[in-house]
Amino acid sequence: MEIEKVLFEDFEKISELNNRNNLITLNKHDWINLWNKNPYFNQTNEWIIGWKLLDKKKIVGACLNIPFIFELKNKEFLAAICNNYVIDKNYRSFSLKLRHLFLNQKGIDLFITNSANIESEKIMEAFKAKKISQQDYQKRLLFIVNKPRFFFNFIKGLIVKEKNSFDRDIFQPIKEEKIKKNNISFHLKENFDNDFIQLAKELKNFNNLRSSKKLEWLKWKYNQYIEKKKFYVIKIYKDQNFIGFIAMVSSIEKKYNFKKLSIVEIVISDKENYILNDTLKYCMDFAKKFNFDVIDVIGYKKNKRIEFEKLGFIKKKSKNFNFLVKSTNSQLNFELFENSENLDLSLTDGDNIFYLD
C-alpha cells in the first residue's frame, strides 16, 4: 500500500472510487476549478490537493484538501477543508493515515469538515478535532412554500424507492429586479458584481468568524452554480447604500423531487439585523414566484435563526451536518468552541457548499 499526493489527472480514478462508494463527484470542470480558480491556491505552489491510497496502481482511498480563508476582526486565517474522504471497504484501516496527513499540515490555522457522518466525526475527534459550539447547527430550518405539492412528493418519495428522474424547471431564468420598501431596497441578481469589492472592505472588521466574503472568493465558491444559472443574490440597500446580501442556490432534492432553494449566505452587520425580516420575506416571495417547494437553511447564529422562526421556518434535526474543526490557533478557540450564541457558521464555511446540486 502506498500513499501519494493527488494530481488533477487522478480525476477519473477518484470518480470511479466515489461511484464504488455511492459518493457524488463533481463534473471534471467543477472539480478542477475547486483548486484552479481558488484564490489562495493560485498564490502558492505548495498546496497539496489531496492524498490517495494506492493498492498497486488502483486508487482505493482519497482525502482531498481545499484552502479557504477565514476572517475575524480584520485578521485572516488559513483553513484546510477536508473533501471527498472515502476509502474502499477492504482498506478502511488505512483511512486514519489519510486523515492524519490532512490534519497535520504545517502553517494552517483551521482544519475543517462540515459534511462529517457519525464515523468521520469519531475519527476527527480522536485526532483532537472538536464540534463547533454553535447553537442548533445540526437543526436545519425549513420553510414549505408549496404545502400540497410538498406533502404529495414526500409521500410519493416514501413509497417509490427508485430516484425520480423527471425534470423540473430548475433552469427557469429570472428577471433581475429592484424592489423598494421605505428606505430599504432589494436588487435581485444572478451574479456578484464589483460593488462586492467595497462591501467586503466595509465589513472587514466583522465580529463573527466566517469564510472570506471578498469578491474573488465568492465568485470561486459559487462558480458552478452561477454557470448553471442556479444562483441568485439579493443585494440589500439602505438609503441607496449597499449594506449586505443574501445568496441562494436552487437544486432538486432527488429523493422527493422537491425544488429546493438553499439560503447559503446572509451577510449583513448586526446593527442592520432588523432589515433581515423584510429581506427574508422577499426571499419567500421569490420562492413562491418561481415555484420552489421548500426553502432550506443550515447554520447561522441565534439572532438570525430567530428571524427565520418568526416567519414560520421549522427546525429539523439532521445527522449529516456535523461541523468539526481542529484549531491550531488559540485566538480562535473561544469563537469556535465557546461562543455558542454568536458563532455564525453555515454551509458556506466548508465543503458542503459544493454539493448542493
Binding site: N104, A126, K128
Partner: protein
C-alpha cells in the same frame, strides 16, 4: 501501574464493548496496516479507551492517534504500541 497492564485493561474494555472485533493479547497482533483485522472505527475506539486509561493513571495527554500515525512504518503491532508507550509514559 505498568503500561502493559493498561494496554491489557483497554483491550478487555474494547473486546467487551462490542462483538464485531477482537484484539488478541499477542505481541504480533497487527493493529494497523496490512493484515489488520480491525477497521478504522474499531482502531479509534480502542485507542480512545487506551488514551483515557493512560490519562487516568498518569494525567498525561499523550495524543496517541497523532503519535502512532506520525510513524512511517506500514504495520503497527501490539508490541510496537507497547514500545512506543514505554518511551512516552
Amino acid at each position: 501501574m505498568d503500561i502493559k497492564k493498561i494496554i491489557n485493561i483497554s483491550i478487555d474494555e474494547f473486546n467487551n464493548s462490542q462483538n464485531q472485533f477482537e484484539i488478541y493479547k499477542k505481541n504480533d497482533f497487527i493493529l494497523l496496516g496490512e493484515g489488520s483485522a480491525l477497521d478504522s472505527l474499531a482502531i479509534v475506539n480502542f485507542l480512545t479507551k487506551l488514551d483515557k486509561n493512560i490519562f487516568k493513571e498518569s494525567k498525561k495527554d499523550l495524543d496517541l492517534m497523532n503519535k502512532i500515525f506520525s510513524r512511517q512504518e506500514n504495520k503497527f503491532s501490539l508490541l510496537d504500541l507497547e514500545e512506543l508507550l514505554k518511551n512516552n509514559f
